[in-house]
Symmetry: C2
DNA sequence: TGTGACATGTAATATGTTACATGATTGA
DNA sequence: TCAATCATGTAACATATTACATGTCACA
C-alpha cells in the first residue's frame, strides 16, 4: 500500500486531538472547573460522539496539565476535594490554534454518516427489507429532529449566540439527511428490484 | 456520574462494529477477495474516516474468520500468496442484521462535524479571527465539494445505483454545511463584536 | 541485478470505553 | 443510619493508527 494516503499524524507535540481541543474549549467557556464538570458537559451534550467517560477525561486533563496547557487551582469546597483547572496562556494559544485555520483536510471532508454507510450495502437486503430500512430511518430521523428542536428550545435561555448557531447547523444537517432519504425512497420506488 | 448515559456496548457476541460491518459489506460486494483488496477499498474511498490501515484490517479479517463470518479460499495466484475470504451464511446474516433496522440511536443522531465542533468555541477568537475562520472554511468546503463531484463523475461508469445515491447524500450534506457557514457569516456580520 | 510497486503482516503506541473501587454528602 | 447520588479516580480491554519488517513480482 502507498502507506500514506490519509495519514492523520504523527501528532506534533503542540497539536491537539479533537477531544483535547474540546476540553480546552469547555474550560475556556466555563472558567475554572473540575474534571467532573467537564465530563458533565460531554455527557449532557446532544451529540453522542463522546461519552465523557471517566477513563477518557481524567487522564486527558492530567495530560493537558503536564503539557502546561491547564493549571490547577483549589476546589472552592475545600482543597481535599480535588482540583479545578483553568487555562494557562499557553493553553489559550493552543486552543486558538486548534480552532483556527488552517483546517486539516478531514475536518472539511464529508462528515461520517452511519446511515449513508449502511445504504452503500442496501442491495444486500430484499426489496421489502430496503423499504423497511428507509421507513425506519425516516421515522427515527424525524423523531430525532423533533428532539433536537426541543432540546434547543429548552436551552434557549442559557445559550449564547454560538450555541444557537451550532443548533442551526445540526438541524440543517439532519434536514439534509431527511431530504436525501426521501430522495432515495422515491428512486427505489421507481424500480424496487433493480440491484 | 450516572455512568450510563450513552453507552455503546458491551458489544454482544453477535454484534458488529461499524468497521466490521463495512468489511463484511465490501466482501459481499466484491465476492471472494483478499485482505489487501479490502484495504484498497477503504484507502481509495473519499471518506477519510477509516484509513484501511494494515493494522486494522488484517487482525479484523482474522477476527471475522474466527467468528465464522468469513471463510477462506485459495488465492487465485497460488496458495502461498495468502488467502481470499468470502462470506459464510452466518456472515451474510450478520451483515444483514448490522445493516437493517433497528438502528442504534447514535446512528440516526446528529452526525459529527469538526467544523461545527470548532464553531462552538469561535468566541475565543478575535472578530478578525472569526472572519478568517469562516472564510477559510467556506473556501475549503467549496474546493472539497468540487472534488467530490469530480470523483463521483469519474466513477460514474463503474458505479451502481447505490454508489450514486451515496454520492448524492454526501453532496447534500456538504451543501447543507456550506449554506450553514454562509448563514453564520451573515449572522456575525450583523454584530461582529458580540460575544 | 536491483529498484519500485504490490502484498502480507506484526509491534509499539495512543486513545476511548466499560466496569469497578472508593470516599464524601445528602436526605428519607 | 442507610441508601442514593455526587465525585474522583484506576484497571482491563478493545480498537485503530503509525511505523516497521518481510517477501514477491515486473521490468529496466
Amino acid at each position: 500500500m502507498p502507506d500514506d494516503p490519509k495519514r492523520r499524524g504523527p501528532t506534533r507535540a503542540a497539536e491537539l486531538t479533537e477531544l483535547e481541543g474540546c476540553v480546552l474549549g469547555v474550560v475556556w467557556d466555563q472558567g475554572p472547573c473540575t474534571a467532573y464538570s467537564i465530563r458533565r458537559v460531554f455527557a449532557s451534550s446532544p451529540s453522542p460522539h463522546w461519552t465523557g467517560s471517566a477513563g477518557a477525561i481524567y487522564p486527558l486533563v492530567r495530560r493537558l496539565r503536564t503539557r502546561g496547557l491547564l493549571e490547577s487551582g483549589d476546589h472552592p469546597a475545600g482543597p481535599d476535594r480535588g482540583q479545578t483547572c483553568r487555562l494557562t496562556p499557553r493553553g489559550r494559544r493552543a486552543l486558538r490554534s486548534w480552532l483556527a485555520p488552517p483546517f486539516p483536510d478531514w475536518a472539511v471532508g464529508v462528515p461520517v454518516d452511519p446511515l449513508r454507510t449502511r445504504l452503500r450495502f442496501l442491495a444486500a437486503l430484499s426489496p421489502a427489507g430496503r423499504a423497511r430500512f428507509l421507513g425506519e430511518a425516516e421515522r427515527k430521523l424525524r423523531e430525532h429532529i423533533a428532539e433536537v428542536r426541543r432540546d434547543y428550545r429548552r436551552r434557549l435561555a442559557e445559550s449564547d449566540r454560538f450555541d444557537w448557531l451550532m443548533a442551526r447547523g445540526a438541524l440543517r444537517m439532519l434536514r439534509a439527511r431527511l431530504d436525501w432519504l426521501r430522495e432515495v425512497s422515491l428512486e427505489l420506488k421507481k424500480d424496487p428490484n433493480h440491484r
